[in-house]
């Protein structure tokens, strides 16, 4: 046992204290030589002759010492230290190579570190919800409209809760917003969830202070109590504890705060809302939305009957139950409900894991980015391996000398690997710095609806991953040059005078050719992906939205029922609502630079709600028709958003609350339901009221640019005011709409100082945000593809430059013998052509595999789009040819006689 200690001590000493070990060895050898010389002297030799003899007996002192050192140090520890120092010196001696390699690797490693930190922050971080893995979403489906992600009705929720066995807890939530009014500050808008009392215990969330909802507080008519988020509690009351027991004025009603929940409690809510077939999503608020208020849902089947579908149902799988079992059971419950309640005809159930609902929308983008950065890193590795090989060729002399001095093959291999490691770790440090610097920009670019993107950071685990990645990288690009160094033929190398007379060995040339093919093929893959995404984005941007967003500002509000009563019996006669709308329209129209104003229930990029409808006289047909999007607008809407009137007339001020109800339908609806007939004059009935169709308007893409415009009907807000009081003011100006924001805000304040205004932005901004995830993917992949292309071009240039340099004697002889300069270029370029053709063949077939998993991110273009592929191939061929022709052209310019003389 003790000898292990000696051994470790010796090695540590050898490692930490190199000079003293060398001195010990020196002393030991000197003692030997002195003793040996003393014996010779005793035999009668002179002192000098004796020392000579002793030295002769001893043999090659340095070699013996080196062998002793080998014994004393474990190669993996001390050699690395020594090699590390050596590698550092070597890199300092060839700064050009070092800088090229470090920059290349730093780009690759930095991109990987940044993307990995995003993936870790978004996908891999554990969920803040205790029972996350067992939580499912229970959607309703509708066979008539084909919807698979529809919120549920309250009676359906209560029935599922009573009947389901595979789901042992069910909770429902509804998203809304409330006005917070405080004596000392402007009214503000808070995102709010109405949640049933089962919600927090089911998710596994416990309150930070106070308590959660009690069952009796979740009954219709119970008094209004709220939970608030930790950050709101801190903002308003300094601490969560201080908030409990206080009262907030929400929608002008006093609400007692009974508890405070962690900020992460709203995890996934945005994704749930935007997955729904139709719903107002917080995501369109612009900044990363954050839920601040929780209220009891108080589900009331009386006011929310089976025909309305406003609530999102979450469930927890019973122990041992699988999502498939829950799907089977809820489907059979849905079938029972269909039999029991005629209004449920066509309705089914759809069970999805909550984690899929949250992460499925971002997975394709993140995986794509991960794949892209790995490809970039591979190209970086290939490039550096190529640089190393080129340098290795000029280092054969050094390698030969080192092996002549007794360095073993393993030792040489180790030395080359150490060099790669030193290089990689310098690059990794630079790469991490690069990732850190680019993080802010990356996250600013990231769409706000990516789950918890705000939590992404470069933490210890990301750094650890970067270190491991760097080690793998060093192995990847270092092993080839290291292997080649082991094959140096001592005799021929040492005989050569090192003047570069030799040609690149055929084997080395093959390896480098293969590397060129590999990096070009990888670049083709990435470029195809980028090409497809760019084309998709271009297509998307050139989709006509059906309205003109330029020059329009929107500002949203929700009238509180306390001062703007919505008496359902009097509907549509809501005098307070109508008076507010008229006053705001008049005030807004008077603002400087404003050309048109309108108020609508939803702005043109808000999908809003749909309703079932019938055409009077064709009720039987209507049973199989999908629901129609109903858009309540003020008469000026068409002119404000420049929605074209195709036929008939538009809505006017004469279509007032008391006048005969009228409606407009869009082109899609007219084509679908009135093929061969005249819709104008026909009557359409929804919300129980028949309305005469007076005009046909164009199609607005209210569900986003990538979705086809749905069927839609337009009615006057004065004939169909919003029951919830929600509305949006749209203002068209001849100047910059953003500049109007403050004036609009002030105008609302003058009208109603207690009303919170939110979502103030131009329609262009809203439109641009609706495609932000695609833009994010497109910009990043394009950037990575650009880096890849640049690296590949540099790689090709480097290889051919070296190739030409090595062959300059041969090329000069050809020139001297009368070869045309053009033929010299052709000689080199022909070789390049073969490599490029091979790379294109491999790259394009690989790209077919790579791009198919992009298909969910594409729009208006096939994953195997031949135009893109051809374009990429052409681009790469041109770049590859240029990168190889440049060195060839330079080689053909040299004066052969001078080259040949210089070489001799």
């Amino acid at each position: 046992m003790t000898h292990w200690l000696t051994r470790i001590r010796n090695r540590l000493r050898a490692f930490t204290n190199l000079p003293s070990v060398d001195r010990d060895l020196d002393d030991e050898v000197m003692a030997h030589l002195e003793a040996s010389a003393a014996e010779y002297e005793a035999a009668g030799l002179s002192r000098k002759a004796a020392l000579d003899a002793a030295r002769r007996d001893f043999g090659a002192v340095t070699q013996v010492m080196e062998e002793c050192r080998e014994v004393q140090r474990t190669p993996w520890l001390a050699n690395i230290g020594r090699d590390g120092v050596f590698a550092w010196r070597l890199l300092k001696r060839s700064p050009g190579f070092a800088i090229a390699a470090v920059v290349t690797l730093a780009l690759g490693l930095g991109a990987n570190t940044a993307i990995y930190s995003v993936i870790r922050g978004v996908l891999l971080r554990p969920s803040p919800l205790g029972s996350f893995d067992r939580i499912v979403m229970l959607w309703e489906t509708d066979r008539t409209s084909g919807t698979t992600h529809e919120p549920a009705s309250v009676p359906d929720f209560l029935d599922y809760k009573a009947r389901a066995r595979t789901i042992d807890a069910l909770a429902a939530l509804m998203a809304t917003e409330v006005n917070l009014t405080r004596p000392t500050a402007d009214p503000e808008r808070l995102l709010t969830l109405r949640a049933s009392h089962e919600m927090l215990p089911m998710l596994g969330v416990s309150t930070v202070a106070g308590r959660g909802f009690l069952e009796q507080e979740d009954k219709p008519g119970a008094s209004t109590i709220v939970l608030i988020s930790q950050s709101l509690a801190r903002r308003l009351f300094a601490s969560p504890e201080a908030a409990v027991g206080r009262t907030l004025r929400l929608d002008e009603q006093p609400c007692a705060i009974v508890g405070v929940v962690p900020d992460t409690t709203d995890f996934g809510v945005l994704q749930i809302l935007s997955t729904a077939a139709y719903s107002r999503s917080f995501a369109d608020r612009g900044q990363a939305a954050h839920v601040d208020v929780w209220m009891p849902l108080q589900p009331n089947p009386e006011t929310l009957p089976r025909t309305t579908h406003p609530i999102f149902v979450l469930g927890r799988l019973a122990p041992g139950a699988t999502p498939a079992a829950a799907q089977a059971e809820t489907s059979s419950i849905a079938a029972d409900l269909e039999r029991e309640f005629p209004v449920n005809r066509g309705r089914g159930a759809n069970v999805e894991l909550l984690s899929d609902v949250i992460f499925d929308p971002v997975r394709p983008t993140l995986y794509l980015l991960a794949a892209a950065v790995v490809v970039v890193l591979l190209i970086a590795c290939v490039n550096v391996a190529n640089l190393q090989l080129a340098r290795g060729a000029t280092r054969t002399q050094e390698v030969a000398i080192r092996s002549a001095l007794g360095a073993g093959k393993a030792r040489l291999f180790g030395q080359f690997m150490t060099e790669s490691l030193v290089l990689t770790y310098i690059a990794a440090a630079a790469g991490v710095a690069l990732a850190y610097a680019s993080m802010k920009g990356l996250l600013a670019l990231a769409p706000a609806d990516v789950p918890r993107v705000s939590l992404v950071s470069l933490d210890g685990s990301v750094l650890g991953a970067a270190l491991i990645m760097a080690a793998v990288v060093a192995l990847t690009f270092g092993v080839l040059p290291a292997l080649q160094a082991r094959r140096v033929d001592l005799v021929t190398t040492l005989k050569d005078d090192g003047g570069g007379k030799g040609t690149a060995g055929p084997e080395r040339k093959r390896v480098r050719g293969a590397l060129v093919v590999a990096e070009l093929a990888a670049a083709v893959m990435l470029l195809s992906g980028a090409g497809l995404l760019i084309r998709s984005f271009w297509n998307l941007q050139h989709v006509a939205p059906g309205f003109q967003p330029q020059g329009v500002l929107k500002a949203e509000y929700q009238l509180p029922a306390a001062r703007y009563p919505a008496n359902m019996r009097a509907w549509p006669n809501f005098p307070e609502h109508h008076a507010f709308a008229r006053a705001v329209l008049a005030r807004a129209a008077a603002l400087p630079g404003v050309t048109n104003v309108a108020i609508a229930g939803n702005h043109p990029l808000d999908p809003g709600f749909t309703n079932s409808f019938r055409i009077i006289g064709r009720e039987a047909e209507g049973a199989s028709w999908p629901e129609i999007s109903v858009r309540a607008v003020s008469p000026g809407y068409l002119q404000t958003v420049r929605l074209p009137l195709l036929r008939g007339r538009t809505l006017t001020d004469a279509d007032s609350t008391g006048a005969a109800p009228v409606a407009l339908i869009n082109q899609t609806a007219a084509e679908r339901f009135f093929a061969g007939r005249d819709p104008i004059g026909a009557q359409i009935r929804f919300w129980g009221i028949p309305r005469t169709i007076v005009g046909i308007v164009g199609n607005e893409r209210i569900q986003g640019l990538s979705a086809p415009p749905p069927i839609a009907a337009y009615v006057s807000i004065f004939q169909a005011p919003s029951v919830t009081g929600a509305g949006v003011l749209l203002v068209r100006t001849s100047a910059d709409p953003i500049a109007l924001s403050n004036a609009v805000r002030g105008m609302f304040r003058d009208q109603d100082p207690l009303l919170a205004i939110f979502g103030i932005e131009s329609l262009e901004q809203a439109l641009s945000r609706s495609i932000s995830q695609r833009r994010f993917a497109m910009l990043l992949v394009t950037a990575f593809a650009g880096v890849a292309l640049l690296m590949a071009a540099i790689g090709v240039y480097g290889v051919f430059n070296y190739d030409v340099a090595v062959r300059r004697r041969e090329l000069s002889i050809r020139l001297a013998l009368g070869a045309a300069r053009g033929s010299i270029v052709r000689l080199v370029v022909n070789h390049a052509l073969v490599l490029i053709a091979l790379a294109l063949a491999i790259g394009v077939s690989a790209a077919f595999g790579f791009t198919t998993f992009l298909s969910s991110l594409l729009f208006g273009v096939e994953a195997r789009d031949p135009v893109t592929m051809f374009g990429v191939a052409a681009l790469l061929a041109v770049i590859g040819l240029l990168a190889s022709a440049l060195p060839a052209w330079r080689a053909s310019r040299v004066d052969p006689s001078r080259t040949l003389r210089a070489l001799d």
């Binding site: 003790t2 000898h3 292990w4 000696t6 051994r7 010796n10 010990d24 002393d27 030991e28 050898v29 000197m30 003692a31 030997h32 002195e34 003793a35 040996s36 003393a38 014996e39 007996d57 001893f58 043999g59 090659a60 070699q63 013996v64 010492m65 062998e67 002793c68 080998e70 014994v71 004393q72």
Partner: protein
């Protein structure tokens, strides 16, 4: 008679044996082997020192610094307990091997 080269693998045994009695420095070990073999066995310095370092590394011998007859700082090697055990084992093996080879070679 000219000195003969060592049989492969016997150098360790010879070193262990030569320092069995007292601690010696490198040159003295070589001299001791030469003397004990009556000038027949010649240890190459090139193999002696690496072997010494290897044996030390294996914990079979240990080294202390002392002063040589020439007043030089020198490393003196002596047997460890493990080294003594190894010496006994290898010596026994050598005797068996040597007598076996003798039997074969001297048979008529």
């Amino acid at each position: 008679m000219k000195p003969i080269d060592l049989v492969q693998g016997t150098l360790d045994l010879l070193i262990l044996k030569s320092i069995g009695g007292e601690s010696l420095h490198g040159w003295a070990i070589a001299r001791r082997i030469r003397q004990l073999s009556r000038e027949v066995l010649q240890v190459q310095q090139g193999s002696l020192y690496p072997a010494l370092h290897r044996l030390e590394d294996q914990g079979l011998i240990k080294a202390t610094w002392g002063v040589s007859e020439q007043n030089r700082r020198a490393k003196f090697y002596s047997l460890t307990k493990a080294g003594q055990k190894r010496l006994d084992k290898e010596a026994a093996q050598w005797h068996r091997l040597a007598s076996a080879i003798t039997m074969v070679v001297s048979s008529a």
